[in-house]
Amino acid sequence: MKASEGIETSGRKPSRPPVVAPGHSPGSVTDQITAVVLDRAPRWWWVAFGISFALVMLLLRALTKLLFEGTGIWGLNIPVGWGFAIINFVWWIGIGHAGTLISAILLLARQEWRTSINRFAEAMTLFAVACAGIFPLIHVGRPWLAYWLLPYPNTMDLWPQFRSPLVWDVFAVSTYATVSLLFWYVGLIPDMATLRDRAEGKFAKVAYGFLSMGWRGSATHWHNYETAYLLLAGLATPLVVSVHTVVSFDFAVGQLPGWHATIFPPYFVAGAIFAGFAMVITLAIPLRAAFGLKDFITTRHLQNMGKILLATGLIVAYGYLVEIFMAWYSGNWYEQFMILNRIQGPYQKQWMALLLCNVLAPQLLWFRRVRSSPVLLFMVAMFVNVGMWLERFVIVVTSLHRDFLPSSWGMYSGTFWDWATFIGTIGLFLALLFLFIRFLPMISIFEMKTIVPKQVPNTAEEAPE
């Protein structure tokens, strides 16, 4: 029997691979996903978690040094007053966007294939936002006063500068983190109840019971759940666009050649989804192999994510093109110098590498063979991960290092502590992710069950939404 039979009601594309591999029943779905959490951790998990945890220690070491000695330990200096902190912030925030897109927009667009990947993509969003949030806090120089960013009744009788995009960032990112957390948690509640019922140990039962907030699966519970989940999806949808738009304003509102451009908001949003899907692919491919979840995260998922990567990659490439065009079209001497300096100047290598990673590498995704090959897709995604970091580096540094007066030109590079902080946050991200896959179901069990019955022959009735 062909795998696709029974799913495609329209029959227009009979060759499309299924969302869930055939032969699964609701019971087998629950068994396989809960087993990851309830069985003993495999040895590789301990090794991988150990390495990530060591990197978290590196992060703490770098932050401690920063607290005692200040931002002088970084490579920042005039003329480049914005460096790794903003680059890493934008990189991490961008990565988070795929989670929100998958959970909210694909849900509202009724893209069933999102079901297998939304849970860990949302977790990835949260952890990426956590990593991103570190940088604005530590870059202020005196992190213990970072709460000054918030508007609160204070003895200085001062409000933050509401006309500054840096303050908009505070609201955008904190809203984003809150809504993402709620969305993720609400989605987890029914699965927590499943884990509670299946757990053996007393502690696990109480812990999952506590987290499932008394979920019994009654019709009222489901009704409330569906309403809350849809409302949250509606709330999260504008955030996909708004957060990175505000982040792009950090640059676009400044009157610096290379930053002061109207293309920035859409170009940043596309870049964020591009980066985010690259990270989802980077995580999904090893995870499905390691835990034998290829039945749930199928070639169909990889192909779809590959297509999104290609589409957003093309928008990003268009953004690069428009930047160059606008520099020429503006007739502004400084804009033109900035672009020429970006292309031919001392940071030419970074710019070329950025084009290779973000523009050339994704073109491979035009080929179905590349999209459906986990190894090749993983490699393209890794290129994009690096490329998106380079993109922010090029935007931040090439505009700053040669400003209007040649007498104040300079060069910028990260110091050991810059890199230690950055790599440390990657460690934090991975450590949180490893804890997540160990303690929570990384695929939504109950949502998978709603799409499974359609796979089973002789089940004409569609499962209720």
Binding site: N154, T155, D157, D197, V206, G214
Partner: protein, 215 residues
């Protein structure tokens, strides 16, 4: 399957929801209150001095002018703390064997200044200029309170930025004629009318830019 939680857990969960909100609000309230308390501002707290100098006695009873000791109040950024010699102008003749004044005499003999504890001490990032405030008609009492009624010196106001801005936003509510600067008891009959007139006359501006005080 046995139940993990007792039925009372439901009530507990609901109480916790309100408890969390209550806890958050009360925490904020405590922090805000602490921030403005005398503990944080040192307002109304008497500072220990090497000699228990009484402003009350010297100004109210003796009738000495503020400027006799704080000589640079009208001309300098800092009103000035008098040198020991100023004290000795009188105290070489009166109370010249009082044990209480021994630190003053010791300072005079050795030339080592007395280490007065500064009561009105703004943070170093505030570039406060005393003379301009006098020149624009801010009386002593407006910021320092009834010093003539203080046997021991203390801060009369919080000295927090919100307090500074109160006057910087609306100077007309606080200014007085230059002739009444040192008069501790003066009160305007009609501050609204007088303030508006003085603002015009002394060319007083509402200085609200950050860099007026923070450079």
């Amino acid at each position: 399957m046995s139940q993990i939680f007792k039925p009372s857990t439901n009530t507990l969960a609901r109480v916790t929801l309100f408890g969390a909100l209550f806890f958050a609000l009360v925490s904020v309230w405590i922090l805000v209150s602490l921030n403005r308390s005398a503990y944080a501002t040192r307002q109304t707290i008497v500072r220990m001095q090497p000699v228990p100098f009484s402003h009350d006695h010297h100004t109210e009873a003796m009738g000495i002018s503020c400027l006799y000791c704080h000589t640079s109040a009208e001309d300098s950024a800092f009103a000035g703390v008098p040198p020991t010699a100023t004290c000795m102008n009188c105290h070489k003749l009166i109370w010249n064997d009082s044990p209480m004044l021994e630190p003053v005499r010791a300072s005079f003999r050795s030339g080592e200044p007395i280490q007065w504890a500064r009561v009105h001490d703004l943070p170093d990032f505030v570039y406060f200029n005393h003379s301009i405030h006098i020149a624009k008609g801010v009386g002593c009492v407006t910021c320092h309170g009834r010093v003539d009624k203080m046997p021991l010196m203390k801060q009369a106001v919080s000295l927090q930025m919100e307090w500074c801005l109160e006057c910087h936003r609306a100077p007309q509510d606080f200014v007085r004629p230059r002739s009444e600067i040192y008069n501790m008891e003066w009160e305007a009959e009609d501050q609204a009318a007088l303030g508006a007139k003085l603002v015009e006359q002394y060319d007083i501006q509402s200085m609200m830019s950050c860099s007026v005080c923070h450079r």
